[in-house]
Structures are given as structure tokens and as C-alpha cells.
């Protein structure tokens, strides 16, 4: 006589295994869908804000000062402190009057005429990067008509004294 006890145990085992596999699949797939979406949205909000701030700083308020924007003026004068204050005021302001808590670190990229390469020049920061920040990167091309007496010429050796475009790059994060 054949004993059927073993058959039942096998099917129960297979059924339980399948249920466990699908439970695991369910959990893993449910988790992996939402996290990237949420991260992407908060990144997008920061990127939009940072890019708006640079664009607004690079838009002159009047035509009275020969059309020079605040960002052009700050860059020529190599005034990192003013850049930090203005940029953070722009990014942290809200309509309700409360203040957000965004931080920045800005670098300037220009063409070095001595080495004929692109050089990076640290321009400003509100606090040092520790590596743990989840920062987004925003950039803005700044048109400069540099002359020898401009502070940026002295601070960035090798930068050409002529009409040129330099790239302002800002890392922006929320504390």
C-alpha cells in the first residue's frame, strides 16, 4: 500500500513557499516604487528654486546701471559674502514671512589663459560641506566684461581680461 502523507506535505510546502515569495515580492516592489519618486520631487523643488534665484540675480532691476545685473556685479567684484547673503535671501524667503533653511556652496568656472584649461575657483559658502548633505546642483552662465582692475582678475589668476562667459555653479541643500 502506498502512503500519501508525503504528497500532502510537499504541496503544503510549495504553497507556503509561493505565498512567502509573493509576499516578499509585494513588499519589495511596493517599497522600490515610492522612494525614488519622492526624492525626485524634493530635488526638483530645490533645483527650481536655485535656478530661479540665479536667474533673478542675473536680471538687472533697471537699465540705469548700463544693464549690469547684480550677479555680474558681484562676480566681477569677487564678493562672495554678498553673493551668499543675496542668494540665501532669495532662496529662503517665503510669502508667509518665515525663513527656510537652505545652505549653499558656490564655485566659479572660467578659462585659464595660462594653462588653456577650465579652472575652478571657490566663490562662497554658507557652511562647509561634510559629505552627508543631499545637495542639488544649479548653474548660471554669467557674462563678464573684465578689466585688469576688477577684483576677480586678481583672485582668479589666469582669467582673461575681456568679454567672456563664466559659469557659476551652486550646490544647494536643506539642513
Amino acid at each position: 500500500m502506498v502512503n500519501s502523507d508525503g504528497q500532502l506535505f510537499t504541496i503544503e510546502g510549495v504553497a507556503a513557499g509561493l505565498i512567502m515569495l509573493f509576499s516578499a515580492y509585494l513588499v519589495v516592489s511596493a517599497t522600490s516604487i515610492y522612494t525614488p519618486g519622492d526624492t525626485h520631487i524634493s530635488d526638483m523643488q530645490l533645483e527650481q528654486l536655485g535656478s530661479d534665484a540665479l536667474r533673478m540675480m542675473n536680471t538687472p532691476n533697471t537699465t540705469a546701471t548700463a544693464g549690469e545685473s547684480l550677479l555680474q556685479n558681484i562676480t566681477k567684484k569677487n564678493d562672495g559674502e554678498r553673493f551668499k547673503e543675496t542668494f540665501l535671501t532669495f532662496c529662503n524667503s517665503t510669502t508667509g514671512g518665515s525663513y527656510d533653511n537652505l545652505q549653499l556652496s558656490a564655485d566659479l568656472f572660467y578659462r585659464d589663459t595660462l594653462t588653456k584649461s577650465v579652472k575652478q575657483f571657490h566663490f562662497a559658502h554658507s557652511r562647509n560641506l561634510t559629505g552627508g548633505e543631499h545637495a542639488v546642483r544649479v548653474t548660471e552662465w554669467v557674462h563678464l566684461d573684465l578689466i585688469g582692475g576688477d577684483p576677480l582678475s586678481g583672485a582668479a589668476p589666469g582669467i582673461d581680461t575681456r568679454m567672456q562667459a563664466v559659469l557659476m555653479e551652486v550646490l544647494l541643500w536643506r539642513d
Binding site: S4, I19, A30, Y34, Q45, T59, A64, T94
Partner: protein, 341 residues
């Protein structure tokens, strides 16, 4: 005798297979259900982002004549709100569009906004607010924000239109012919020159779309012989001259802000010192075009003969890009917040 245990196992196997297929089918639907639940929050952020883009990067529809010129009777013709000055100037907002957008007597929350700026199939609740960094201007529309909502913040610049302040004694007439009771002062708006000399809209004086403000100050000091002379601003008449056409009277303007008062007074009105006239945005749109010359004639009447504020013997006051004559348009920083839930 045959053993029937095997038949029982196969039945069980068939039943278990059907059960598992059904279970798998149901189980595979569950992530889909969860996605749609989770999608709510993601969707709010997406709708907030889209609304922010429409508001700060789009001038709205219709564009010509612009939607903000539509009065309350024509508001059904407005297809889309948008606050941007032009499509080529994102983040630069037009003040007349802002004032119209946040006008609670013209548009009701949420219906009028839902189908012109929020869009989407769901009846979203929202709050849209705008303020300048100096705190001088604050607008908002919508409900109080709950704990969780989709959100976007955009930085903008708001164009402040031009205005002219004319010191009356500097334009006093002279000679015996001028010693009369009736005096006319004319302001010339050369649409051709204004729209061609500066072509970048954020810095352009656009009389056809923007508010034009003329303040006349120190009128009392423009009297010469009779300090007790009573000055009456009688009427303001607008003349237009198009190319190859004669000068024609097109309209009168019947109100003025007198001596710093907050309410507009109807003409004729007695003036001691100052008279401000504000032509609202779009006022000249229907009566002139980009080739028109406009003349705003102020007619004053004195109780006694005197020399007075009068340029009818010389030339009209040119409303132009000279900062000495006209305070030029400037941009003011502000922030827009959109919350959707």
C-alpha cells in the same frame, strides 16, 4: 483492491493550483492599488509644479487682447491665467495681471481658478500667494493650508510701471498772451518711440498695456500775480494722431487724485497743490496702436487772470525714457508659493 489515495492528492493539487492562480491574480493587483494611493501625494506636487510654471512663465490666454483686459462680463473668454509679462520673459511678472488674478470680486474661489490655472480632473483645493521681499505687496487666494500638501516656490521679479512727476512752476507760461484764466498743459505719449526705443519688455514703457501715472505737483507755486487765485482742474481730454490722419479727440478722463487724497475726485475739482491722474493698465489699448501719438490735455481754470502752468505756447511734455522727465520702470523681487491638496 485499488488504492484511492492518489486520486485525492490530484484533486487537492488541482484545487490548490486554482487557489494559487486566484491568489497570484489578486496579489499582483495590490501593488497597483498601493501605487494609486501613493500617487496622491506625488500628484499634488506635480500639480503644484505645473501651476507654478503656468503662473510665472506664461502670459496667459488670450494674449491679444490680453486676458487681464477682459472685464467681468467677458471673463468666460479667459482660457488660462498667467502672470508673466511675455512668454519670452519667464519669472518677470506684470502688475496688472497680478492685480486682476487676485481680484476676489472678479473671480471666485475655487471654480474660476480651477479651470483656468489648476486644471486636472480632481477638484483640488489650493492656496496661491505672492509677496515682494520688501513686504509692500502681498496677495493670496485660496484656503488655509492643511498639514500635508503638494508645494512649489518660485522666485520672480514684478515690473513696477513708469510714472512722471511734473513740477508745475517749471512749466509756467510768460508774456501778456498768457495772462488769462484758462490754461492748458499737454503731455505727449509717443507710442512709436516708446515701443521702439526700448524693445525689452521688462524695461519698456508700454502705454497700451501698462498703467500710466502723471503727478503734477506744486500747482499753487505756479501762480504769479494772484496767490489767492482758485485753481480748478476742469477736464482732461485725450487726443490721438495716427499716421496720415488728423488729430482727433478720442476720450475724456473724469477723475483725479487731488492733494494727496486716497479717493479719486470727479472733475471739475478745486486743486491746492497736487493732482495725480492714473490711467489704468489697458486704458489706451482700444483707442491707440503702436503707431499712435497721444496727447493728454489738462485744462485748468483760474478764478482770476494769471500766468500759470501752461505749455500750449511751447511744446507738450514728452513722456519718454529720460529719467529726468519720467521715473523709469523697475523690477522688484518677490516670491510665489503654490500649495495643492
Amino acid at each position: 483492491m485499488p488504492d484511492d489515495h492518489a486520486y485525492l492528492s490530484i484533486d487537492f493539487l488541482a484545487g490548490m493550483t486554482i487557489f494559487m492562480v486566484a491568489f497570484i491574480w489578486v496579489a499582483t493587483m495590490i501593488p497597483g492599488l498601493l501605487i494609486s494611493l501613493q500617487g496622491g501625494t506625488i500628484d499634488y506636487d506635480a500639480v503644484a509644479y505645473r501651476t507654478g510654471v503656468i503662473l510665472v512663465e506664461d502670459p496667459g490666454m488670450p494674449a491679444s487682447p490680453p486676458w487681464e483686459n477682459k472685464d467681468d462680463m467677458q471673463k468666460d473668454e479667459i482660457q488660462r491665467f498667467g502672470l508673466s509679462l511675455t512668454k519670452d520673459n519667464p519669472n518677470i511678472l506684470a502688475p496688472n495681471k497680478i492685480e486682476r488674478f487676485f481680484c476676489s470680486t472678479s473671480f471666485s474661489y475655487p471654480d474660476d481658478y480651477q479651470r483656468r490655472v489648476i486644471f486636472g480632473e480632481r477638484p483640488y483645493s489650493f492656496n496661491i500667494s505672492l509677496s515682494t521681499f520688501d513686504g509692500m505687496m502681498n496677495w493670496s487666494v485660496g484656503d488655509v493650508k492643511p498639514d500635508g500638501y503638494g508645494y512649489i516656490r518660485r522666485l520672480v521679479k514684478i515690473k513696477q510701471p513708469s510714472n512722471a512727476t511734473i513740477n508745475a512752476p517749471a512749466f509756467r507760461n510768460s508774456g501778456e498772451d498768457g495772462n488769462v484764466t484758462g490754461h492748458v498743459f499737454s503731455v505727449h505719449i509717443n507710442c512709436t518711440q516708446l515701443l521702439q526705443d526700448v524693445r525689452n519688455p521688462p524695461y519698456q514703457i508700454d502705454p497700451l498695456r501698462e498703467r500710466i501715472m502723471v503727478n503734477i505737483s506744486n500747482l499753487g507755486g505756479a501762480r504769479v500775480f494772484e496767490p489767492a487765485n482758485v485753481i480748478t482742474l476742469n477736464k482732461i481730454i485725450i487726443y490721438r494722431q495716427n499716421p496720415a490722419q488728423p488729430l482727433v479727440q478720442v476720450r475724456t478722463f473724469d477723475t483725479s487724485y487731488i492733494d494727496g487724497g486716497n479717493a479719486a475726485s470727479s472733475l471739475p475739482v478745486i486743486v491746492n497743490d497736487n493732482a495725480s491722474v492714473i490711467f489704468p493698465a489697458g486704458f489706451f489699448y482700444g483707442m491707440a496702436n503702436e503707431n499712435s501719438q497721444l496727447y493728454i490735455n489738462y485744462t485748468f481754470k483760474l478764478s482770476l487772470q494769471d500766468l500759470f502752468f501752461n505749455n500750449s505756447f511751447t511744446s507738450p511734455y514728452d513722456y519718454n525714457y529720460s529719467p529726468i522727465r519720467v521715473t523709469q520702470p523697475i523690477l522688484k523681487e518677490g516670491v510665489v508659493e503654490v500649495a495643492i491638496w
